[in-house]
Amino acid sequence: MKLVVAGKGGSGKTSISGTLARLLARSGRRVLAIDADSNPNLSLTLGIPADRFNSVPTLPRDLLQRTPDGARLSKSLDEIRSSHSLDGPDGVSLLVMAHPQHAGTG
């Protein structure tokens, strides 16, 4: 299942996303959490310390290749997971789309 969690800043969206991810992982799901916020702080609510979060490589722009049939990823999801995700508590994988200093470029 692919779930989007949206909400206004301050609504508690990220606390809910992170807690949901951890609890689902505890119940046996393989959880991929994606932080696509321009002010990313999902890592914190997942329980990943800030220093580890700051070292995670964000997804490179050339990951997406334009082909005549449309855009497609140049790597498999497993490759993306192993090169760009952080492993958090309970086995949650976190992908971060952009660090704050890069916000607004994509």
Partner: protein
């Protein structure tokens, strides 16, 4: 970046045990760029006051316009029966599902202040229990 997120979501979450959770920018502009278009469901977190509900309604409408099979509200920071009634009434008025209700809980801001996850801060907190209930009822 939106296109990359969109493609990652498209190829993820396919196995029966796989769950992908996208924590996304609150802005309708972001949603309208189709970042979420390959999702199976959208949860819109709202608080029990009109401005928040109204913003949530607009986000939910964008999710529906994207063609998402299931779009629902999650009512957060709920203090009492009046809050419950306000959210329920608003949702009924606009034909929206309320997938879950999470009580106002000092444990949430306390976890944030402490710089730890809510689950590690207080696993027995009522808000954490309510999110667990949401996980069981909503995520298939």
């Amino acid at each position: 970046m939106h296109a990359t997120v969109r493609s990652v979501i498209e190829v993820s979450g396919e196995g029966p045990a796989d769950v992908t959770i996208l924590d996304t920018e609150a802005s309708p502009e972001h949603l309208s760029r189709g970042t979420a278009m390959h999702a199976d469901a959208m949860l819109v977190v709202v608080e029990p006051y009109f401005k928040s509900l109204e913003t949530g309604r607009r986000m939910a409408a964008l999710g529906t316009d994207l063609g998402l099979p299931r779009v629902a509200l999650v009512a957060n920071k709920m203090r009492d029966e009046r809050d419950e009634a306000a959210v329920r009434e608003f949702a009924e008025q606009h034909g929206l599902e309320v997938a879950g209700t999470i009580p106002f809980d000092e444990a949430m801001p306390a976890a944030e202040r402490a710089g730890v996850s809510p689950l590690d801060h207080d696993p027995g907190a009522p808000s954490v229990a309510a999110i667990g209930e949401l996980a069981r009822s909503f995520v298939r």
